[in-house]
């Protein structure tokens, strides 16, 4: 095995690209605040700009989080196939600490009334004498406020800790000459199982707290799982594209075609999971047509119709048609092509979730603002993830399933 190619060195082009994306993105974000105004509405505090910042910070944080989930899942399920690409999954997962830090900053600014993405953060919203009083929110205000902050901090610490520990154990095992009793592996199996438990609860509650509460009146029991499926597919696409790209650069030569094929299968399967949950939530609300629920899709139907159908069909039909055949799941071009499209598709899904509750009917269609904010966070994400990949050899050592993965056939 070519040992030189076990340590990743960031190609200068890639580094330049990530920095360029960040610079362009930052300029766009600065311009966004200059241009994003509603002349007839003095209450409008650059809402669209802030909503875009939230969409970008949440989407990429969620990719890191879902990668950490996928990593824990491999351990908990005693899966061997992905051992050769584990370092790539770890590299993506480690973004979660960056992601939550940015979100934390965003939430603090909201609490300081700098932006009004969360209606319930508005001062006086639960105060009967105030002009901002809202009865529906006042009835459940106990769930927000201090309690919300405690939960938020706990999610952030919890996820970061689990990810850090899982990755640390994996790297520690590399340092041993020979890990005869697989001590680090067993530690991670336990840790992975615990993380599954923590994640099962917090992935839902955090999506209610951070995302569903944008439409503070609205509620849907499926929302948590729907958000989860979106982040899962985005993370799988990211991991697959990174693996394919690294292989192109000459790294990961030991990763078999079958492993790539399996990554493709995951993309295919989880795209269906997302579609299934999207459809279930939409269809049931549309069918029963209960005013307090259907209002959510009404805004989308009226002011975001094209986007709404684009998101659904792109994220559903594209992977279904293009990744159905065995050959396409083993073809680098197809994986990159479909991956890029549904990556953007799922970013647009987040836009779809965030905008109607913030910008609402003032929406004028996608613009450079969405693009600019996306580019900034993409640049930052690439910068961090590529740096993470340099921190440990790309192939794990002393892993009991390494042989299985090196000889993996589907």
């Amino acid at each position: 095995m070519n040992t030189e190619k076990l340590n990743f060195v960031i190609p200068s082009k890639a580094k330049m690209l990530s920095i360029a994306l960040m610079v362009i993105g930052l300029i766009c974000i600065a311009l966004m605040f200059a241009f994003d105004k509603q002349a007839d509405d003095p209450e409008y505090h650059h809402t669209r700009a802030w909503a875009n910042i939230f969409a970008g910070s949440f989407f990429f944080m969620a990719i890191g989080l879902a990668a950490a989930f996928f990593l824990g899942l491999q351990y908990a399920a005693e899966a061997g196939w992905a051992t050769t690409v584990k370092r790539v999954i770890e590299g993506v997962a480690m973004y979660v600490q960056w992601g939550v830090s940015i979100l934390l900053l965003f939430f603090i600014l909201g609490q300081l009334q700098v932006h009004h993405i969360y209606h319930w953060m508005l001062s006086g919203v639960a105060d009967a004498g105030s002009q901002h009083y809202d009865k529906v929110i006042a009835d459940k205000i106990g769930y927000f406020g201090v309690f919300w902050w405690i939960r938020t901090i706990l999610y952030m610490i919890g996820w970061s800790w689990f990810t850090w520990k899982l990755v640390k154990n994996s790297r520690e095992a590399d340092k041993l000459d020979k890990d005869t009793n697989n001590s680090f592996h067993w530690k991670n199996i336990k840790l992975g199982a615990w993380f599954m438990v923590v994640f099962a609860v917090t992935s839902s509650t955090s999506s209610w707290d951070w995302v569903m509460s944008i439409d503070t009146h609205w509620f849907s029991t499926l929302f948590g799982w729907y958000t989860f499926s979106g982040m899962w597919i985005s993370a799988l696409v990211t991991i697959t594209m990174l693996v394919v790209w690294l292989k192109r650069l000459g790294y990961l030569e030991y990763v078999t075609e079958s492993t790539i094929h399996d990554l493709g299968k995951w993309m295919f399967a989880i795209s269906f999971l997302w579609t299934y949950l999207y459809f279930s939530q939409f269809m049931l609300i549309w069918y029963s047509d209960i005013p307090e629920e259907v209002v959510y899709f009404q805004t989308r139907w009226e002011s975001y119709k094209a986007l709404m159908w684009t998101v659904f069909f792109v994220n559903f039909a594209f992977p279904m048609i293009m990744l159905m055949s065995r050959d396409s799941k083993r073809n680098f071009f197809f994986l990159m092509f479909v991956g890029t499209i549904i990556f953007i598709g799922h970013y647009l899904d987040v836009i779809m979730i965030v905008m109607p509750g913030t910008v609402g009917h003032a929406w004028t269609g996608l613009s450079w603002m969405e693009l600019g904010s996306f580019l900034f966070f993409l640049g930052l994400f690439l910068f961090v993830v590529l740096r993470n990949l340099t921190k440990a050899p790309l192939l794990v050592k002393n892993h009991p399933f390494l042989e299985e993965s090196l000889h993996h056939t589907t």
């Binding site: 029991t221 269906f272 609300i285 029963s288 000889h407």
Partner: protein, 462 residues
């Protein structure tokens, strides 16, 4: 080269050869039945007969014979229907989803799980055909040419989607099961001594010759059917959940229903597979193939699906409060504290708390504990459907329509009858069909047999 890590426990215990596998699995078919088999068979047939009597009575006098009333117009019928359909899901999950995930441990249980699926769907079918009131008119559920006047099925109704979903599911499950059986029937055919048995098994095995070309087609068809069955596992129980969730009844209309029903179905199905397989491995002495590790894997699936169900229960409760909708809040208050609150707490204990015991390795590797808990889970899942249906319908929007519910003698009779029918079919199956897919099991012997693994480890040391 295929590699299997040494830290994976063997899935076939002892020093088994291909010949041993054939002998062990065919033994119940070639041998005589034990006394225990006859005792259980008699009990099953008797309860089946009792159920048939109650069924005939219902057809004779109408569904007024049931405990259902004007408010509670769905009760045991739909509870039992959903319960049985749910049980069936494990079979499809094991045969299809675990095949796609290349889980070798599925080889020991897929055959019986698929058989269970088919019998469970048959039991479920009894309740839906009967609950229409005039089962002799049930053919009108199918979109037949318009020769009956202007009456067409209502395509907007999830009840009709159910007809298509369940019948597709049943057909695909039968085909999948049968394809897997072909090489095993051929094995029995080749060993049969009695001419009649030889003829029957020869016919059933479609002239299987075991050539490479036969195997290659066998594998291809299995994969295609697995690909077809996987969306079916999701669709069937999702559509069953739509029966409730498309309504505007508080407690029924909630968006989490589809995935939560699917998960609950797999949960109860695995519990039923465990109940049956723990008996089968003991009675037919298949301990070498259905190991403690298999039981442990199944128990882990039970923890996962049970916890998903638990998260869904809590989500429903929380969102009912969070929604601020008075009806929604009352629906859950009524379930937890109303006149039928005992059924709610039975459901919570059996479905949310009991599977968590499997976190302890001692419990999930104990056969006795597993057997008891598998039955507890199935009781819990029956109560889940009961809680969704009956307490909700007892107290809907208008307090003047509030009512109570008690099942009739006939309700209980038909339910016990389906359990008898299920038992009868399963017992007959287990004496005429190989209960373990021996042809598939043989494919993992080299990599996952205990003696073979040991030899490989020693080989690696030299």
């Amino acid at each position: 080269m295929h590699a299997e890590s040494q830290i994976r426990e063997p899935l076939i215990i002892g020093n088994k050869t291909y010949r041993n596998i054939t002998d062990d699995i065919i033994a119940p078919i070639e041998g005589k039945a034990s006394k225990a088999w006859y005792v259980i068979f008699t009990i099953s047939v008797l309860s089946f007969t009792w159920g048939l009597g109650c069924l005939a009575y219902t057809i004779g006098v109408g569904i007024g014979a049931w405990g259902s009333n004007n408010g509670v117009d769905w009760a045991w019928d739909i509870t039992n229907f959903v319960w049985w359909i749910g049980i069936g899901h494990a079979g499809t999950l094991i045969s299809a989803v675990l095949l796609l995930f290349r889980q070798k441990w599925r080889m020991a249980i897929n055959r019986s799980a698929e058989a269970m699926t088919i019998f469970a769907v048959m039991c479920a079918a009894i309740f839906v055909t009967l609950h229409t009131g005039r089962p002799w008119l049930d053919y009108m559920l199918f979109p037949l040419p318009n020769q009956f006047g202007s009456l067409w099925p209502n395509f907007n109704s999830p009840l009709l989607w159910d007809v298509f979903a369940v019948s597709t599911y049943f057909s695909v499950s039968v085909v999948f099961w049968y394809i897997g059986l072909i090489p095993d029937f051929a094995m029995i055919r080749d060993r049969a001594i009695k001419p009649l048995a030889k003829k029957v098994y020869a016919l059933a095995s479609f002239g299987w010759g075991g050539s490479v070309r036969h195997w290659s087609r066998f594998e291809e068809v299995s994969l295609v059917l697995a690909g077809l069955s996987t969306p079916l596992v999701f669709s069937v129980h999702s559509i069953v959940s739509f029966d409730f969730a498309t309504s505007v009844v508080p407690g029924w209309h909630t968006t989490i229903f589809p995935p939560y029903f699917v998960s609950g179905a797999v949960f109860s199905g695995f519990a039923m597979v465990l109940t049956l397989m723990l008996i089968v491995r003991k009675v037919y002495k298949l301990e070498a193939y259905l190991t403690i590790k298999h039981v442990e894997y199944m128990n882990i699936v039970i923890i996962v699906t049970g916890s998903i169900v638990g998260v869904a229960y809590l989500t429903e409760l929380f969102i009912a409060w969070y929604s601020g909708v008075e009806w929604e809040q009352y629906a859950f208050l009524n379930r937890a504290t109303g006149p039928l609150a005992w059924s709610y707490w039975a459901m919570m204990t059996c479905n949310v708390i009991s599977p968590q015991l499997f976190w302890f390795k001692k419990i999930r590797t104990s056969l006795v504990a597993t057997f008891i808990l598998s039955i507890v889970v199935n009781i819990g899942m029956w109560f889940e459907r009961f809680v969704i249906i009956v307490p909700t319908l007892c107290r809907t929007y208008l307090p003047s329509t509030w009512t109570t519910y008690t099942p009739s003698f006939i309700d209980i009779g038909i339910f016990v009858g389906t359990i008898g029918m299920f038992g009868t079919f399963f017992l007959l199956y287990s004496r005429t069909f190989p209960v373990i897919a021996q042809a598939e099991l043989k494919t993992i012997l080299k990599a996952s047999g205990e003696a073979q693994k040991k030899a490989a480890a020693e080989h690696a040391h030299h």
